[in-house]
Assembly symmetry: C2
Homo-oligomer: 332 residues x 2
DNA sequence: TTGTAAGCGTTATCAC
DNA sequence: GTGATAACGCTTACAA
C-alpha cells in the first residue's frame, strides 16, 4: 500500500506538504503542488480514510436507518437521501431496522460503532421514551413518521392534513360509506393515529359519522395485509363505496384483494392511497394518492442533520412536508 | 470519549488484555475477563472502528453497487445481501451508480477511499475492458448482469434459459405472434442479448420465425419506457398475442400501456416478465414471470466475496442462479 | 512556504 | 496469563 510518506519521498517534500495539497489548503506554491500531484498520479496513492478519521474524528458518512429497504417508499427515500448527501460531500450507509423497535435501537448502537457523523432515522415503532436515544453520540434526525417531542429535529409527513384531504376528495366524488384500512395501534402518537385523525376530521366536517364497521385493521404496512383487508372489505357487504388506505403499498394490496373478489375500482369502490410511490401511476387502475414532496423531505433531513453536525446545540424543530393530491383512475 | 486505556485503568489491567477480552481471544482468566466486562459496561466503552481498521486493515464493510436503489429488484437484492452479509459479521454500504458506466467506475474508485473489504457490483453498462477494474485493491464479485470473462467471480441470472422457458410457456398457451420488449443494445454480451437469444431459441425450437416487427426496443429498464412500448404494441395492429418483457418492472409498464389502449391481459394478449419482484403477485392481472432464486444469488455473491477476501488468489468462476417459472393470471 | 514532532485508539509482537 | 512497546497513516500545532 502506498502511503503519504511514499508520495512525500517521491516528490521530495514532507508528508505535511502532501497533506496540504490533498486537502486543498492554502500556502502551497504552484511548482510544489504540481510535483506532488504528479507523484500522486504516478504512485496511485489513495487517502486512507481510517487514518484520517482516527485523527480528525469525522467520517463523512451519515447513516440512514429504514425498516426495510425493499419497500418502494424506503427505496425512493434512500435514493433521494443519497443524492442530497452527495451534494454536501457525505456518503450514506443504509441500515435496516426490520420495523422492530429493537432493530432501531441496534441501528443507533451499531452506527456508534461504525462511526457515523449523524443518523437519519425513519422510525415506525421505536418507543419515544428510550433513554439510549439521547446519548447516541451524534446527531439524529427523525424522518417521516414518529413524533419524539422537542428533543430531535423531525421532518414529518403531512399525515393528518393529507389524509383529511384524501377523505374529503372521496366525499366530493360522492362516497358516503368510506372505509379506512390502516394499522391497528390507535394508542400513542404515530402515523396510524395521525392519519386516523385526518380521516375522522374530514368525515366530521362533512356531517358523516365514523362507523366502526368501516375500520379495517391490518398487521403491517405490507401488500399482503392490504390484500387481506381488500378481501374482507369486499366480503363485508356493508355498502362501502370508498376506501382510504394508509399507504400506497397497502392500497396496492387492497386493489388486488378487491380484484380477487371481482369488485371493480373505481366503478364499485373508489380507492385512494398515501405516499405516491413510483408504482402508483402504473397500477391498473392507476392509484389516486396523497403525494408528499419526497425530495423536499430528504433535502430537509440532510440539511438539518448537517447543520446539527456542525452546530450540535441548536433548538430542534418539526418540519411538515408539503403535499399535493394526485387524482388518477382509482377515484375517477 | 472513553477509550480502551480508560477501561484498562478502570479494571486494573493493560490495554492488551482489554483488547483480548473484546475480541474473544483465548488466554484470559475468567475473573479478569469479568472485571473487564464490568468496566466496559460501566464506562459505556465502544470500540473505535477507525483505529481498529487502521491497525488491522479490515473494515468489516462490503460495498454493494447498484444502478438505482429505488427500483424494486435492487431494493430486494440489497435486502438479501444485507441479511446475508450480517450472518458473516459484515456490514453493507450501498452505492448508486446511476446505471452509467462512469458511475460504476466511481463506485470502485470511491469505495477504495471508503475502504471496503470487497465489492459486489451489479453492473449493467460497465465496459468489461476497463483496466481500472483489475486493480481496485480489493475483491469484486459481479452480480446478476454482465459477463466479464474469467477475471471475476460472477453470479449470473439464468438469462437465456429463463427467457427461453418464458417464451416456450407462451407458445404452450397457444401464442403464435410473440413480441419481445427489451433494451435496444444487441451488441456485446449482456442481459439484453442473452435474453434475446433465449427468446429466439424458443421460437426456433417450436418452428416459429422471428419477425423484426415483433421486436420492441426501449430506452431503459423502466416502467415508463415499458408503458410506451405497451402503447406502441397495442397500436401496431400486428395480431400480437403474447409479450415477453425483459423485466417485471418493464412488464408493469407494458401492462399499463396496454390498459391505456383498452387491450385486455390475458384475454387479448398474454404477458410474461422476468425477476419476480414483490409487486408482480399484486398486479392486476397478477404477472407471470421467470423467478430466479434471489436469496440464492445474494448468498452466493456474499459467500464468494468473503472467500476471496480471505483467500485473494483463487480461480474465478461463473455461477448461474436456479429459477422457476411462476404462472399467474397474465398468462392464464 | 515548508518541515518537525506528537499523538489519535487500536492491535501484533514479544517479553515476562 | 498478562503487559510493555511499537507500529498503522494521517493531521494538528508549532517551529523554521
Amino acid at each position: 500500500m502506498v502511503t503519504m510518506s511514499d508520495v512525500a519521498k517521491l516528490s521530495g517534500v514532507s508528508k505535511m506538504t502532501v497533506s496540504n495539497v490533498i486537502n486543498g489548503r492554502a500556502g502551497v506554491s504552484e511548482p510544489v503542488r504540481r510535483r506532488v500531484m504528479e507523484a500522486i498520479r504516478q504512485s496511485g496513492y489513495r487517502v486512507n480514510v481510517s487514518a484520517r478519521t482516527l485523527r480528525s474524528g469525522r467520517t463523512g458518512v451519515i447513516g440512514l436507518a429504514v425498516p426495510e429497504i425493499d419497500r418502494p417508499y424506503f427505496g425512493q427515500l434512500a435514493a433521494h437521501v443519497i443524492a442530497q448527501a452527495a451534494q454536501h460531500g457525505f456518503h450514506v450507509s443504509i441500515e435496516q431496522t426490520g420495523a422492530a423497535a429493537a432493530g432501531e435501537m441496534d441501528a443507533i448502537a451499531h452506527s456508534h460503532t461504525l462511526h457515523f457523523d449523524g443518523l437519519i432515522l425513519s422510525a415506525v415503532e421505536l418507543d419515544r421514551a428510550d433513554p439510549r436515544l439521547a446519548d447516541a453520540g451524534y446527531p439524529i434526525v427523525m424522518l417521516g413518521e414518529q413524533d419524539f417531542g422537542a428533543k430531535f429535529d423531525h421532518v414529518a409527513m403531512p399525515n393528518e392534513e393529507g389524509t383529511k384531504a384524501a377523505t374529503a376528495h372521496l366525499i366530493d366524488r360522492g362516497c358516503r360509506r368510506i372505509a379506512l384500512v390502516t394499522g391497528s395501534g390507535l394508542d400513542g402518537v404515530n402515523v396510524v393515529t395521525r392519519r386516523y385523525r385526518g380521516y375522522l376530521a374530514a368525515l366530521a366536517e362533512h356531517g358523516l359519522s365514523a362507523d366502526p364497521a368501516l375500520f379495517f385493521a391490518i398487521d403491517g404496512m405490507t401488500m399482503d395485509s392490504g390484500r387481506d383487508a381488500g378481501r374482507r372489505l369486499a366480503d363485508s357487504g356493508g355498502g362501502i363505496d370508498g376506501v382510504v388506505a394508509v399507504t400506497d403499498t397497502v392500497a396496492q394490496g387492497v386493489l388486488r384483494g378487491l380484484a380477487d373478489r371481482g369488485v371493480r375500482v373505481p366503478d364499485d369502490v373508489r380507492l385512494i392511497g398515501f405516499d405516491d410511490i413510483p408504482e402508483s401511476e402504473f397500477m391498473v387502475p392507476s392509484l389516486s394518492t396523497v403525494a408528499p414532496d419526497h425530495r423536499w423531505m430528504a433535502a430537509k433531513a440532510v440539511e438539518l442533520l448537517i447543520n446539527r453536525i456542525h452546530a450540535p446545540l441548536r433548538q430542534a424543530g418539526e418540519h411538515i412536508a408539503p403535499f399535493t393530491l394526485v387524482i388518477r383512475e382509482s377515484t375517477r
